[in-house]
Symmetry: D2
Subunit: 441 residues, 4 copies
């Protein structure tokens, strides 16, 4: 059960590689089908399935494949997503069994034929092979903390570009095995929490009891417009200004009808003045709060937080998703943008409008929405901090994840394949002859 941190961050149990392989097996079979005569009459200008790789590789975003000799397959445009954005990842995280997994994989949309009718993975007849490739990846992975508490780690759809929740199988396993099940929903209440509460709980029939809203003083100062390189300096005023952002996340959780507590995740660089000011801000606004000192003290540093949380879990709550799944695509996105982001409304590009018209015709409009949006801002522009007002969200593209059972809406300039920085992290990493790893931080 013991897995060191490097192993988790590196290949772990190989789930990510299995998902990559399954995703790319679809692409290889799809292109092979076209090359071998294209019996399904697939429109090579209207293929929606992309390849993927677990690598930040910007040059693979937009590529032309099948160049050169005829034996190299048909030329067409394609692109790679990062593996965490693959629908296979979402499907693995939402499947309830191997059989359900296979059915979901078979339902995934991959292309349209020249009559604009959808083509699914099952039309290629490879959903069985895909499920086989994922036979181990579908099993939750158990690891332990430094204090030997068991933890399930399973599935990794990033909450900015995917649905942001660990697997339903892991959550349900935990619900059976333990008294309390705590799950992380990545990034803020606009992303991870919204998707956990609107998508995963809805599709999995889960009933949450309470929410821990984790706040850091560093992030609040950044939302108070302190520059990145100055975040180490004490700045109570800026932190209080940034609390507007925290207030918006609290407001979003309230709209879901759930009790909550703010956990102040103490950093070594936080000053007593800052901590005190934040505690007072919480009291003043009547937000339940606890100072969490787990980084410094381990489990002992969160006993108060745990006790308060148990109290919240025993309260009644009125949890409900933000929107009705049977509403129109436009309305559902508008509700999320207004309620969870504080936006005035949503603009759809012409391309997005055409897609909605097609999806309505095909009956794909009754699914939850999975927003792809920058995690840096409540808006779709990663450079806008705090809790802005009077802004609009732009939806530029909509992709149905029919296997997962939701509709992905790409906003602003969000990308499903990141790039490396000027100096990649790889340049700092090293390993010694006896296997000691350096440069991970």
């Amino acid at each position: 059960m013991l897995v060191p941190m490097e192993d988790i961050n590196l290949h772990f149990t190989g789930d990510m590689h299995a998902i990559t392989t399954a995703n790319n097996l679809i692409s290889a079979c799809l292109d092979n089908h076209i090359h071998q005569g294209n019996e399904l009459d697939i429109d090579i200008e209207h293929i929606t399935w992309k390849r993927c790789l677990d690598m930040n590789d910007r040059t693979l975003r937009n590529i032309n494949i099948g160049q050169g000799a005829k034996a190299n397959g048909v030329e067409r445009h394609d692109g790679f997503n990062i593996t965490v954005a693959s629908e296979v990842m979402a499907v693995l995280c939402l499947a309830s069994s191997l059989t359900d997994l296979k059915e979901r994989l078979g339902r995934m949309l991959i292309a349209y034929n020249t009559k604009n009718e959808p083509i699914y993975v099952k039309d290629l007849g490879i959903e069985g092979a895909l499920a086989m490739v994922l036979k181990d990846a579908i099993k939750p992975n158990m690891v332990q903390t430094l204090e030997h508490n068991p933890v399930l780690i399973h599935g990794g759809p990033f909450a900015n570009i995917a649905h942001g929740c660990n697997s339903l199988l892991a959550t349900k396993t935990c619900l059976k095995l333990s008294d309390y099940t705590i799950t992380e929903a990545g990034f803020g209440a606009d992303l991870g929490a919204e998707k956990f509460l609107d998508i995963k709980c809805r599709l999995g029939g889960l009933k949450p009891n309470a929410v821990v809203i984790v706040a850091t003083i560093r992030a609040l100062k950044q939302h108070g417009n302190v520059a990145y390189e100055d975040l180490k300096e004490e700045n109570v005023e800026a932190m209080l200004a940034g609390c507007e952002n925290l207030a918006k996340h609290i407001d979003t959780i309230k709209q879901f009808g759930l009790p909550y507590i703010v956990a102040i995740n103490e950093f070594a660089t936080d000053t007593p003045n800052e901590v005190k000011a934040l505690e007072e801000w919480c009291k003043e606004h009547h937000h339940p709060m606890s100072l969490s000192q787990v980084w410094a003290k381990g489990g002992e540093g969160a006993i108060d937080l745990a006790n308060q949380l148990i109290g919240l879990c025993n309260q009644e709550n009125t949890y409900a998703p933000l929107y009705d799944v049977n509403d129109t695509i436009e309305n559902k996105i508008n509700i999320i943008a207004k309620k969870a982001y504080g936006a005035d409304g949503v603009d759809f590009t012409d391309e997005a409008k055409e897609q909605i018209a097609l999806y309505n015709k095909l009956g794909w409009d009754k699914m939850p929405i999975c927003m792809a949006k920058t995690q840096m801002s409540l808006t779709d522009d990663g450079k806008v901090f705090g809790a802005p007002k009077g802004f609009r969200i732009t939806v530029r593209e909509l992709n149905p994840s029919l296997g997962a059972g939701f509709m992905v809406a790409l906003t602003g300039k969000v990308l499903t394949m990141p790039g490396l920085p000027k100096v990649p992290a790889a340049n700092k990493m090293d390993i010694t002859e006896d296997g000691h790893i350096t440069g991970l931080f």
Copy 2:
């Protein structure tokens, strides 16, 4: 230690995925370096490093990357190899330690600058990160047979397009742990055996004792020009005609100065007449021989073979590689083609000649040669069976594997990325709810 066959064929211990990741991390860092200003002045028309994937995907052989917006990186031509053809695989199989692995990874050639000077992985400064990615993959994997004999499986460079031998670390581990070490060298004496004896033994300082030449009656009939669909029919005459091919493989082993035994690997479809005729052919030509019935009877079916082999191992031998590593590139390839294939000689394309001139100038001419050639024929044309005479081999491209320490010579139309057949194997595979896999055969 117990790993079922499906796991070995599927993700196994993840070594292949780790190699894929390391290979593609180089590409991502290389393209990122160019995108971020190209301080190394890399010539984008002269990049030799390719991406890879463990997937038969013909459409990825020739691609254009970095299309579209400037943020998507610089446009250039690239291609994917299959992972087993990656130099990272060869390096992992020849490394003697983590430190040696790191140094070999750093030495790998990736491109030339605009002054035609070589650029290596170490110029990107990521060899430490690569070694870290491979920290578990470098460890040999132990599995067991159905009769609970321990077996090491480690590394998988295919012998048609790569050097075809398992890892040196696994072989050396086995030499320490057991009385006899048997290793498989894939395909015939023209490929796996030639590379084991000319490359791996030479670079690893190994001294082999004897060779088991495995022959099947089916293959001999094919070399006697029986059509694939008729191989099940008894055909003694064709089998005897095909023995010419076996005779050439025996001849090649003799040239290496090693004792040998022909193991007739009995199939259920072999007829008594055929088996008898093959045994007589061996006797007539004074080739040591044993009928191996391991498929039907397990270990018991090869007791005679094992006893004979022990006898051979106790003989003196005059093992020596076929060629002097300090000979010219052309001569070394000519010697392999003449001695191991029975060719009259070798033609080099203009491109290959230009490459040789460059490699001579750069001092890369003193390495063993790793031939990439079809396994279907002694010639470089996969449709020619038997033991042909009067043919020539065409070398169309030469790629230095400076990390592995050999020069790869691509012959005929051999490809480093296969394609799928009209009906891919994936179409037959399936898995049941309780994890039972079907369709692998």
Copy 3:
């Protein structure tokens, strides 16, 4: 001097071919410069100059060039415009002499270097060769009408995607040779007239006397939302509804301070009721008007129009361009959109905003604007007829034509390379052995 209609429409005097050649000579020298070492440090991801062809060829809009061997030049993205959209065409139409032509050609922007500094044609040192290629094309071409009146035809920048006016040299030649100079400004007052009055008159120092606004009953019915296939049917009501569109064009001319007359260009399919109703609409709104019957009667059919026009030319006028050339780029475009199109305002895409910021920095903001907009509508959406209100124009891209001396603003989905329809006109054309041409109409 006699040139039949087919010759004008076919190769004419070869001016278009010379412009195509000059345009593509720049591209060939630019790519050759990069291939030969790129001394100018041109950023291959930031080349603005495109190739061109006088052919409606949609597949050439977006292409990748320099594929394959290194000798084929550096790989990059490029595209073809239609020749009439080439800046060389605009430059030829605005040049005052061979020397001025050469200087303008030298000033044309072709790319940026990696420091984001502009690279001009003169940096390649080929403006002399380009002027030589255009030495005959710069000379106005004289043809005659069926009634033997001399006409100058020279230059053809389409008014939807370019500046829409014939050459300044031809206009000035005509001003010297004749009593009255009449010039066509293609499409409506939103396109040809706006550009003639805001760009050509301003840059050429011309002072127009009066404007003939040509109206056809067919077009008015279309603006009254009659379907294309029903335009032959009498429909007075729809025609009167479509007069809103005519009224907007008249209004635009008035804003330029010029006297005008509406010429009703009579078609064989116009009915007496329609003609009468249009004449009455003009009278009712006090618009000077004349029925032009030149199609049926030749010059005689426009004697009244000519006489009225002479009267208008003798009036004083207050002609002035719509905007101050020293205003900001955004303001100038807003003024055109509001005054000439009747729009509420203009939206700039993020890309357009970034371009404006760069052009401001480089001092390229003090030039007239050349709008590229569909000719089918006053809006930037070709499916909206009549005189709509409450709409906005989207500017998606801005391209400085430094040789011509204006800034091109691309709106909506306007394309600078058209495509062919399902049945191209070429399918109907033919020529007999004795040179008789059929199928042009």
Copy 4:
């Protein structure tokens, strides 16, 4: 009739532009056909028709078109030839009338469908439009020399990559109008003369009387292996060594059964010793010869040559093409290589062999061969001078020109689209305000 040299070299009468336009109209209609539904089931991986441009533009050799949005047409690989290599040029040069032109254009091969059946221009139904585009280009152009002799200039297929002869219409016009018709067949007897005598005379039913073999002392020295920069120095020995090359051209003409005379085309840099030595070499080998001084003296400088030539024209001759048009493709090429180049034989690449098999099946094997070969050498390697022995020619690709009526064989590395040198000629060209052109030499 007076056309200055610059006009001939620039746009002349626009024939080249018309050919470019016709060629590219085919491509635009072909791609449009595919985009609009591909009723002809054209295999986009097997399109043989290429675009063309009259520009040395290496980056257009290999391109990918139809990138981006679906409205931009179907993505595929394409390339541009230089216009002189377009089959339209060959067709124009071999057509006997407008009607014949139209039929030939209709017969041109453009692609195969997915059943590997040929698709012709006439399947697109645009041969009428193409003939119309060429209606003026098909008419021979008359110019005059500095001494006012009339000359017909018509058609320009380069003799290295095309069939190298001016138009049949021009030749037949001249035969009717004058006593003697002299035509230039570009480059040596291996290229222009071979094609004139094997293709044009055969297809056009022409009976030549005599051949003038033009020799320059500079070229002979180059074939004697004098470096380019030393050609101005006197070097009698090298010149005499280079006469081997001249001897081979003479030998080729003899094989065609025609009387000949060597014309020494005197240059200002030739020395008396060199001229004398060449005259003596001719005498010694009994080759009729005349010193031509037309560069220095005009027509007067070739009176002796003309008189001798008239004498030859009055002789009987036994003219016959080198090969029987009904022989196999391989044999015909072998005969040309052996008889006209002095080669030992011909190697066909695998691709060429597959093409021949297909063309045999389609009945396209009974046409003359049009060799594409470097003009720098009798071999297919432009760096080999003199009259080498013991070499072989490589045919890498065969393209049927069904409209022209011959089969093009590409040898060695010959390219159908040239590139620009490091300093393009355009950099030296200029034009003054009064139209004076400089820098052409």
